[in-house]
Structure formats: C-alpha cells, structure tokens
Amino acid sequence: MTSGNVLNVEHVSVSFPAEHGRRLWAVDDVSLGLERGTVLGIVGESGSGKTTVARSITGQEVPSSGEIFLDGVPLDAHRSRSTNRAIQMVFQDPYASLNPRLTVRQVLRELLRIHHLVSRDDEEERCRELMRDVGLPPAALDGKPGQFSGGQRQRIAIARALAVEPQVLIADEPVSALDVSVQATILQLFHDLRERLSLSVIFISHNLAVVRHLSDRVAVMYLGKIVEEGEREQIFSDPRHPYTRSLLASVPRLHAASVAPPRLRGEPPSPVDRPSGCAFHPRCPRAEEICARESPALLEAGDGGHLAACHFRNEPPTDLEDS
C-alpha cells in the first residue's frame, strides 16, 4: 500500500449468488491505488466488473474478502456519515439520480445543511460557487432536472457530488449517454476539476479514447480481474497484455481506410464459468499451452509501475495478434 494514496483497494473480491448454488465472482482479488489529485481510469468490456469495484468502494457492495483504505484508514462495512461523504459517485444517467421535484438550489442547500458544511448565510454563495465550478450560470439554481439537457444534468450531478467536498469522486460512464459534441465539454470539466480542486477521480468507461484523454493511470479489467495497469502512456503506447492490445486495435479510427479485421473472436465467458489458467486464453490470439494451465499473476512489465497479467508480458506481440 502506497502512503501517498488517498484510496487503496487491497485484494478485494465481490461475489454474487448464481444459479445452481454457485457463485459469480464479479470482482476477483482486485488491488488499486488512487494517488491524490490524479485520475485513475478503469476500462474493460461490459460485465468485466468495473461498476462492482466502484460499488465496493462506496460501500454499496460488501466485499467477501479484502480491504479498502481511505487515507490509510481501513473502512469497515458500517460506514460513518463522514466516510460516505468522502466518497461520491456520478452515474451514466444523471436524470435517474436527480429528484425531479426539487430545484438545484434546494438539493444543494439540503446537502450543505445535512453535512454542516457552511453557515446559513454562506449557503447561497456556496451554491453559486458550485455552479461556477461546473460551468453553469447561477440562474441554473432555480431550475429542476427536467428543464436541463443531458450535458447540463450531468453538470448538476457533478455539482451535487462536489457540494459535500468529497476526497474521492467516482464517475461511472459519466459521458456514455451524452452526445459526442457534449462529451467534450464534460471531459473538459473533469480536467478543470482535477487542476483547480485537485480532486482525486476514478473514471470508469468502456470508451478508450475518453479514458486516454483524461486519465493519469489506467487499469484494464477482464472477467473481474485487473489484467494490466500502468501510467496512461504505458498502457496506450506500450500495452503488454494481448487483451489491451485487442481493445486498442478495435477502436474505430477516423481515418480508417476500411473495416479493420476483428482482433478477438467470440465473447467474454460468464464469470460463473471462469476458464482455467489465464481466463483470457479461449479468446487470446497468442495463447500457448501453458495459458490453459497456469494463471498469470499481475506482475511488473517493462518500466516501473507497469503491471500485466500475461505469461508473455515481456515479449513483443506476435503476428498471430494481427489476424
């Protein structure tokens, strides 16, 4: 555990009951560190466990093993109000998370009061400041969620999260439901918040372009496990895991000449039937015999701090991966 981190997730596993009395391991022995004032991106296919990791951090899921530390202090299952305040989450669909009957001002004031954050006299000024932080005019305080566009609602959801002065903000697909032209503005907002408020952010997305744009560090998940982790450019310029390389190669490019041949056949298996050895091996273009037998640990690859869970993490990609 690194002491400079605002948040540490240590060997956390989360399981759910599945059919026939079996268990589904949605998150399997995941460790993560979030350095203060940075953005950690989490990418991975649908069902890889991204949201479940987030929910275990906010306390909405109770891990079956492992621990989570905030500022070095372990969080137990029963969290205090101040702990809950310290970790805030923003979701894909801002509309669902906002009360349609309350004005933005009412929502923010209530939060400020519950948590005794400012004196009554300063409430209005703090509300205006929050609007400035998220790039909305003060007049937006009088509006109700239904009156705003998708991008504006996402700004309001962010303002609400910021109102309680969290130490960690977790954003789960915050731009996925937004129009492309609006995504850009929300990303810019996250940039600004990190710079100005030195906010620590976990940013979850299946959109690699968005994650590359915003993150300092990136973790790649597959079937409940982190398969690669590193500084942004370690992941995007020197990916060591065949899955990461497939993901990157699959992103549609603006100046593509034609349809790129798919890098991966098939779909991820169910976490209930985790394949033996390396769970990626049935789809992996470079799998060898050892891969079905031995599970690769998440180990140092290349430069400092770059980790990959592949037996061949220190060997160059093979031609097989291009087919």
Binding site: S181, H213, P252, R253
Partner: protein, 334 residues
C-alpha cells in the same frame, strides 16, 4: 410499382419530408432529404441526437410514429418505387428492405425462440416449407457468426448476450433476403471488440451478397470504417454529403467541422476536443435562413435570411453552406 430510372441504385431516396405532431404543433424532423446507395455500397448518416436520423430510416420503411406523415418524396429500391402503404408491413419485409435497430431486445419478440423469428420470413414471405425455412434460419445464424447455431436456434432473446442478440437481429433482418439493410446505431451498445465483429460481418455481407447499407451512427470513427459515403444531418436536413474520407479530412460545412473538432480521438490524447457551442434548435422554432447560424463560427448576416440548399462543392461533394469555400483544412475556432 413503376420503373423510375434506367441506371438503378439499390436505394434511391428523393426529397423525403416528414411531419410529426408534437405538443399541439407540427414539426418537420425530415426535410427534403435525398440520397442514393449503390449495390454493395454503404452510406453513413451522422448528426447530433435529435437531428432526424431515425425518423428518416423509419420514413423509408413506412414505420413512422403515430400521427406521422410523409409529406413529400419518394423511395425506390432497385428502381421499384415503394408506395408508403406497401412499405408499412412491419419490418419492411415486402420491399427488399430491412432494418436493424440499436436495441435488439426491444425489437425481438421475447416469447418466440430466435430460430422461429428468423424462419418466419423464409416460411411466410418467401414461401419455403417448414423444413427449408428452418435450414435457412440455421444458415443465417451461421452466416452472422453465431457459434453453435443448432443449440442457439431454440434460445430466447433474453438468454443471449448483447452481441449475440445484435447478430440475431441482423439475421432476422436478412431473412427476407433484402437488397438494402438500414441500420440504426446497431453497434452503439456493444463493446468495441464485439462492435468490430459486427462491422466486419456487415462488410462481408456487402462484398458477398451485394447488400447495400444505410448506417446511422453518432460515431465518426464507425462511419469512417463502415461506409464509403457520408451524409451529415442537422435539424432534419442533409447539410453535407460526399465520400467519407474526403468529408472527414476536409469538411465543407461548419457543422461537420464542429463534429470533427468535438470528436475524442484515441490516437491524439493531448488534442483538446472542442464542443460545438449551443445546442440543436427546437424543431418547432427553427432559426430563419440557415438553421445552423446561431451556432456557426462563420455565420454572416446573409446566413440569417437566405435559405440554403445542398449544392455541389466539387466532384461527388455537396454542402448546404453559403461560405463553404472559406473552410480550409486546419481552420480552428478560437
């Protein structure tokens, strides 16, 4: 049915306009849209949410929402004009025209096995025997890359993953042996690796079966991969058309330019994407002149009064901008 032209396009849409009732007024979400798609080729339509892409596809199929009306235009598939009433046969199965929607779960019948849904058109539209229809359905399941088709034949839609459901949806769409496939964001809800598989499948179908595609997407990268031609839609009108590579490398309409500037590109992480200021106008109160003028960085007073039509701006290219010639590569908004 009548023959409309000798040089036959797989799909020809001419001057299509649609009106829909909304909140006591009438909006025109599709306004004078024309395009053609040749056999084996693909046209991508892009534009912000609400620009009229889905309504355009629905109007082509004759599947407009209640109260909706085609007020002008005509549609021909391989030279045969489709009458609106004839198109409206559910899934457009009559007219060699099929559609794939973004959300296959909503489009598929939850209480029928996927096999039965795929066999329906071969049996009842193409008139195959029960057995032959089943074989055809299995063949289609194989064609769209579904592993273990015999077992999957008896599965219900909810038992399949999103990627498999989308393939089933494509198999259903292909089951009536269409000449033209309309795709409304068919990969938007899929992961990139699965999206790549579906896009490759569609490109195989074009090559091998000569299928013509109209592909609606909001992702310019997907458009670049899937299509030769691009149509950019704004507030119900096509504002720019042309070969996709040319349009994306040197746009001739400020709106296209704005879409490109706002795109977040995985290969240039340090380029800051710039959003287009403002938002799509309310269709019941469209700005006069060029509907894009309140958001346009090139707008002049002339733009607020002059109606602009799509007009030629070079070989195979058209733009609905009075100042198209002022856009050059590298123009950057300040």
């Amino acid at each position: 049915m009548s023959v409309v032209s000798a040089a036959v396009s797989a799909l020809a849409v001419e001057d299509l306009s649609v009106e829909l009732p909304r909140d006591g007024t009438t909006i025109r979400p599709v306004n004078g849209v024309s395009f053609t798609v040749e056999r084996g080729r693909s046209l991508a339509i892009v534009g912000e949410s609400g620009s009229g892409k889905s309504v355009t596809l629905r109007a082509i199929l004759g599947l407009l929402p209640k109260g909706g009306r085609v007020t002008s235009g005509h549609v021909a598939v391989e030279g045969r004009t489709l009458k609106e009433s004839r198109r409206n046969l559910g899934r457009g199965r009559d007219a060699h025209l099929s559609i794939v929607f973004q959300d296959p779960l909503a489009a598929l019948n939850p209480v029928l096995t996927v096999g039965a849904q795929i066999a329906e058109a071969p049996r009842f539209v193409l008139g195959l025997t029960r057995r032959a229809a089943r074989d055809r359905a299995l063949e289609l399941l194989r064609l769209v890359g579904i592993p273990d088709p015999v077992r999957r034949y008896d599965a219900y839609p909810h038992e399949l993953s999103g990627g498999l459901r989308q393939r089933v949806m494509i198999a259903v769409a292909l089951s009536s042996e269409p000449k033209v496939l309309l795709c409304d964001e068919p990969t938007t809800s899929l992961d990139v690796t699965i999206q790549a598989q579906v896009l490759a499948l569609l490109s195989d179908l074009r090559r091998d079966e000569g299928l013509a595609l109209v592909f609606v997407t909001h992702d310019l990268g997907v458009a670049a991969e899937v299509a030769e031609d691009l149509a950019v839609m704004y507030a119900g009108r096509l504002v720019e058309t042309g070969p996709v590579s040319e349009v994306l490398s040197s746009p001739k309409h400020p709106y296209t330019f704005g879409l490109l500037e706002s795109a977040i590109d995985v290969d240039t992480p340090d380029r800051i994407p710039l959003a287009i200021p403002g938002s799509l106008p309310d269709l019941s109160q469209l700005p006069k002149g060029c509907a894009f003028h309140p958001r346009c960085f090139l707008a002049t007073p002339e733009c607020t009064t002059t109606d602009v039509e799509l007009r030629s701006v070079g070989e195979g290219r058209a733009s609905a901008c009075l100042h198209a010639d002022q856009l050059t590569i590298g123009t950057r908004r300040s």
